[in-house]
């Protein structure tokens, strides 16, 4: 079995469990149950219960839905932001190109996590803010990729031929350049999604991401840290979900590269 197949199977399992969380969860992920606080892992509560008596497995399942949505939304945003501006820079050229390139260079000169932290601090914590912060911080890579690909395509002979036949710049970009690098971008996007899952978890772990009581893998783990020694399964379980999800995206990216990427 190759990595791509493992990736697809893992992804179906993780995405399925998140989509079906409402039906799969044995308990309400948000309502507290004070008689069952810090419960050990038993057959009723496979991962135990947290400080408010909530079932950790149910919270992990519900948290997956939130974490996956955020990671995927942020990936879409960052690819779109960097991609569209990269296309614009390469297509228009001149001053627009210089200004955009310098701006993204300056963003790249920040250590990634610090940049995300600053944007979250400016916007305030929250799910939407997390998406925006990761969207901004991830965009320089997409800007550079799109810009480089587009410039190379625009110089190629078949685009010159198209231009000679009277194709407008917009048509050269959309009809000829974009379809040629969409594959490479999707390889990058799957890998970004894997990273963003971990970043969202870190932000929520620091209390700057998804606000409680909404569960996400990060804040479930944050909660678990406070009773780590009493109830280790509450910390181990959600982390395994998160690792499986991140791994599935990483494998999907590898698989996509083998199929799509023209550079190989």
């Amino acid at each position: 079995m190759n990595r791509a197949t493992i990736g697809i199977i893992l992804f179906i399992l993780v995405a399925g469990s998140a989509l079906l969380a409402t039906w799969l969860s044995p308990y309400d992920p948000i309502a507290p149950d004070y008689r069952n606080r810090y419960g050990a892992a038993t057959s009723e509560h496979p991962l135990g219960t947290d400080g408010l008596g909530r079932d950790v497995l149910s919270r992990s399942l519900a948290g997956g839905r939130v974490s996956l949505t955020i990671a995927l939304a942020a990936t879409a945003l960052t690819a779109l932001l960097g991609g569209v501006l990269g296309l614009l820079a390469a297509g228009v050229g001149g001053l627009t190109d210089t200004a955009l390139s310098r701006f993204f260079d300056a963003l790249l000169a920040f250590p990634g996590f610090l940049l995300i932290l600053l944007v979250v601090a400016i916007l305030g914590g929250g799910s939407l803010q997390t998406v925006l912060a990761m969207g901004v911080a991830g965009s320089p890579i997409y800007f550079r990729l799109t810009r480089a690909f587009t410039r190379a395509e625009l110089k190629s002979e078949y685009v010159t031929a198209a231009r000679a036949l009277g194709a407008t710049r917009t048509r050269q970009l959309w009809r000829h350049a974009v379809p040629n690098f969409l594959g490479s971008l999707s390889v990058q996007a799957a890998s970004t999604a894997a990273t963003f899952l971990l970043v969202e978890a870190s932000l929520s772990y620091l209390g700057l991401g998804v606000p409680l009581p909404t569960p996400s893998w990060g804040n479930v783990l944050q909660d678990a840290r406070s009773y780590l020694t009493r109830q280790p399964w509450a910390a181990v379980g959600p982390g395994l979900f998160l690792a499986a999800a991140s791994l599935s995206f990483q494998f999907l990216s590898d698989g996509l590269r083998d199929v799509l990427d023209r550079r190989n």
Partner: protein, 313 residues
């Protein structure tokens, strides 16, 4: 001075200026007004106004911008709103913990990452290669802080070799640097995995080059060939090393939180939650300056090591 040094240095200055300008505007975009926060809940209008005057917020934006860079040149980062002390003092106090942690993590990741990467690359498909592939795959998929949890559970709770949390009251000493081993390992593993991947790829690339074939065909021992390959492949790892080293100053944020270590990471987190903006700004300035500086040095080192890169592109 050679031309390439000049252009590199100019681009360093421009980048640093651009980044520090971004920081200036970012900090002014943070929610809430520092004067209101500093004045407290029951400050009168006049008191807040006086405070604005005192910390320089009453001036025009260009004047603030000039004062900002003027202060930077004298290593003056303003005064912490919460601690009422110069930010520079606060940072110097917190720096040793982060620097020690970052240094230990860097050395560890270098040893593990380059070691595994070179071993894997020299014999692709072998046992070492497969083990390295497994290691890098897993290490890059798990969240850093969760790996910290696992280390705490195993080595601190079950085996009792390390304390569960933080530093003793007397702070960082030679004795208590033992407490930094688990956090350093936590930081090092994902970084080692990235290094190992790149080092492996670089070694594989060198392995198929002509000089290696010649060296082999004239009967050079595999170990000697391996040394040739490694010494040619490793300069290519420099840019990643720089990103890693430069990023460690704030890369420790999450790990400091997990292990309760009072370094720069906890300082900036505290600054964000208490809206102590001079502190947030101070840590950010320090971190981005080091980041830009280290990356610039790595670029220079590469240019010095490899003359082919000096040609203008």
């Amino acid at each position: 001075m050679p031309r390439y040094l000049l252009t590199q240095s100019a681009s360093f200055v421009v980048t640093l200026w651009a980044v520090l300008t971004l920081v200036f505007f970012a900090v002014r975009a943070l929610p809430g007004d520092a004067a209101t926060i500093m004045g407290g809940l029951d400050a009168t209008e006049q008191q807040v106004e006086a405070m604005r005057e005192r910390i320089g917020l009453a001036r025009s934006l260009p004047a603030q911008y000039a004062a900002y860079f003027g202060g930077l040149l004298q290593a003056d980062l303003g005064e912490s709103l919460r601690e009422r002390r110069p930010v520079t003092t606060v940072l110097l106090e917190r720096l040793p913990v982060t620097l020690t942690l970052a240094g230990m993590a860097f050395v560890l990741s270098l040893l593990i990452g380059l070691g595994l990467g070179v071993l894997a690359g020299l014999r692709p498909g072998g046992a070492a290669d497969r083990a390295t592939l497994l290691f890098t795959t897993v290490a890059l998929a798990i969240p850093e802080f969760w790996f910290g949890f696992l280390l705490i559970l195993l080595f601190a709770v079950n085996l009792g070799w390390f304390p569960v949390l933080g530093l003793p009251p007397e702070g960082l000493t030679v004795g208590s640097s033992w407490n930094l081993i688990l956090p350093a390992v936590t930081l090092a593993i994902p970084r080692a995995a990235q290094l190992a991947r790149l080092a492996r790829a670089r070694v594989l690339e060198e392995r198929s080059s002509d000089y290696v074939r010649t060296a082999r065909s004239k009967g050079l021992l595999p170990n000697a060939v391996g040394r040739h390959i490694a010494s040619n492949a490793l300069p290519g790892v420099l840019p990643l090393l720089a990103l890693e080293l430069g990023g460690l100053l704030t890369g420790t944020i999450v790990v400091e939180q997990v292990f309760g270590l009072p370094g720069l990471g906890l300082t900036i987190l505290g600054g964000i939650s208490a809206r102590d903006y001079p502190v947030v700004q101070g840590v950010t300035i320090l971190a981005v300056t080091v980041y830009v500086l280290v990356n610039w040095l790595a670029d220079l080192a590469q240019l010095v090591a490899d003359p082919r890169l000096r040609a203008p592109t």
